[in-house]
Amino acid sequence: MKKLLLSFFTIIAFAFYAINSKMIGGPAVTADNIVNDQASSSEPVLVPTVKKTQSSPIITQPAQPHGQYKDGSYVGDPADAFYGTVQVKAVVSGGQLADVQFLNYPQDRSRSVSISNRAMPQLTQEAISAQSAQVDTVSGATATSGAFVQSLASALAQAKN
């Protein structure tokens, strides 16, 4: 969970960087000071509710000068994620990005109708682990992150001071 949240936060961080790099004289927010900057965090931003006993990882705020963004809620442009539209709402509080909500997300591949109470057959199971082997190319779930960053960037553009 922590890693997934970190991955997503890195995407948000990249959006910050993209916005910031356009501002003259504004400080650039790098991935380094976002992930590692525990000291200047205010409140935890994105905290998963995990059911297991592991403790909830705390994702800290990027180091932002106060007042980078105006407080409020900003709805980003809808962005095409091929299977559907992604549209996010960015909530700014204390001059910083406090929350990102999905107003719209592709539904077509995601209907989670689960058939429960069925005994699983004896199929091989394993805990996943990182492989270091070289690959020619990668198969992963459709990259809708581009649409996410696009929509978030447009929301944050409205929030700029």
Partner: protein, 249 residues
């Protein structure tokens, strides 16, 4: 010869032809074809055939041959998946994207084959048609992405003349939510990768099987010609009994 573009179908598309006589034109022909498919089938382009159909502007008899083909394939897939795959949305509009992608990659691959190429892959947003061998003369080495850390690979499959498609929530926003809202919960399965005789078969089943939750891997086990690797929210993977055919060198 290899090229990646990110401006078609809203996803990264990579084509690699492992043959000395491949040219940029050969690569471009794949991108042009996929761009044309996108123009016809994207529900997010107002002048696409899909959008015009959804606005009621076209009679069935006026549908293009490609549209008729896709609609027929969609109907077959709906039957083959006991209704888990359905291009019709609750609002009555259709979105065939879940099938068009695999179909289009397969058609593009067939175009390359007809042009004389036997060794190549086309990877569109993680759905891959792999033909022949890579530059080392080995089956193409395709990594299955770690849904919790997308820059990592958790399994490698070695494919020749096969397709693989992965459905999942890995790159979605599902896991970003208000910690004070207890109604939010993680979906059971975060990703399922399907290997099939080609990417069309892999993709249409990956779409439906993901919607089945944990039972999806059982469905795959029963389907001849399909193998699967499913990852749940706790990072446990379950694979079909024939999956390891593809994991050896």
């Amino acid at each position: 010869m290899k090229e990646t573009r990110t401006d078609i179908m809203g996803m990264p598309i990579t084509v690699e032809i492992a043959e000395p006589f491949a040219t940029e034109n050969d690569l471009r022909s794949v991108f042009d074809y996929l761009g044309a498919v996108d123009a016809r089938f994207s529900p997010f382009k107002t002048d696409s055939e899909v959008s015009r159909i959804n606005r009621g502007e076209l009679k069935g008899t006026d549908y293009s041959p490609e549209m008729k083909t896709v609609l027929k394939l969609a109907e077959e897939t709906k039957e083959d998946t006991n209704g888990y795959f359905d291009i019709l949305r609750p609002d009555g509009k259709m979105n065939p994207s879940g099938l068009v992608k695999g179909w289009a990659i397969f058609e593009a691959a067939e175009n390359l084959r007809v042009a004389g190429f036997q060794n190549f892959y086309i990877n569109a947003g993680g759905d891959i048609e792999a033909r022949g061998m890579n530059y080392s003369g080995q089956p193409w080495r395709l990594g299955i992405e770690n849904p919790f850390k997308v820059e990592e690979t958790v399994r490698v499959v070695h494919l020749t003349d096969r397709g693989i498609a992965t459905s999942g929530t890995a790159r979605r926003g599902d896991h970003i939510y208000d910690p004070h809202d207890p109604k939010q919960k993680l979906s059971e399965i975060v990703s399922i990768s399907v290997v099939g005789p080609n990417v069309y078969e892999a993709d249409r089943f990956a779409t439906a099987v993901f919607a089945m939750g944990r039972a999806g891997i059982e469905f795959l086990e029963q389907e001849p010609g399909l193998e699967g690797y499913m990852i749940d929210k706790d990072g446990m993977a379950t694979m079909t009994s024939g999956f390891n055919e593809y994991t050896h060198d």
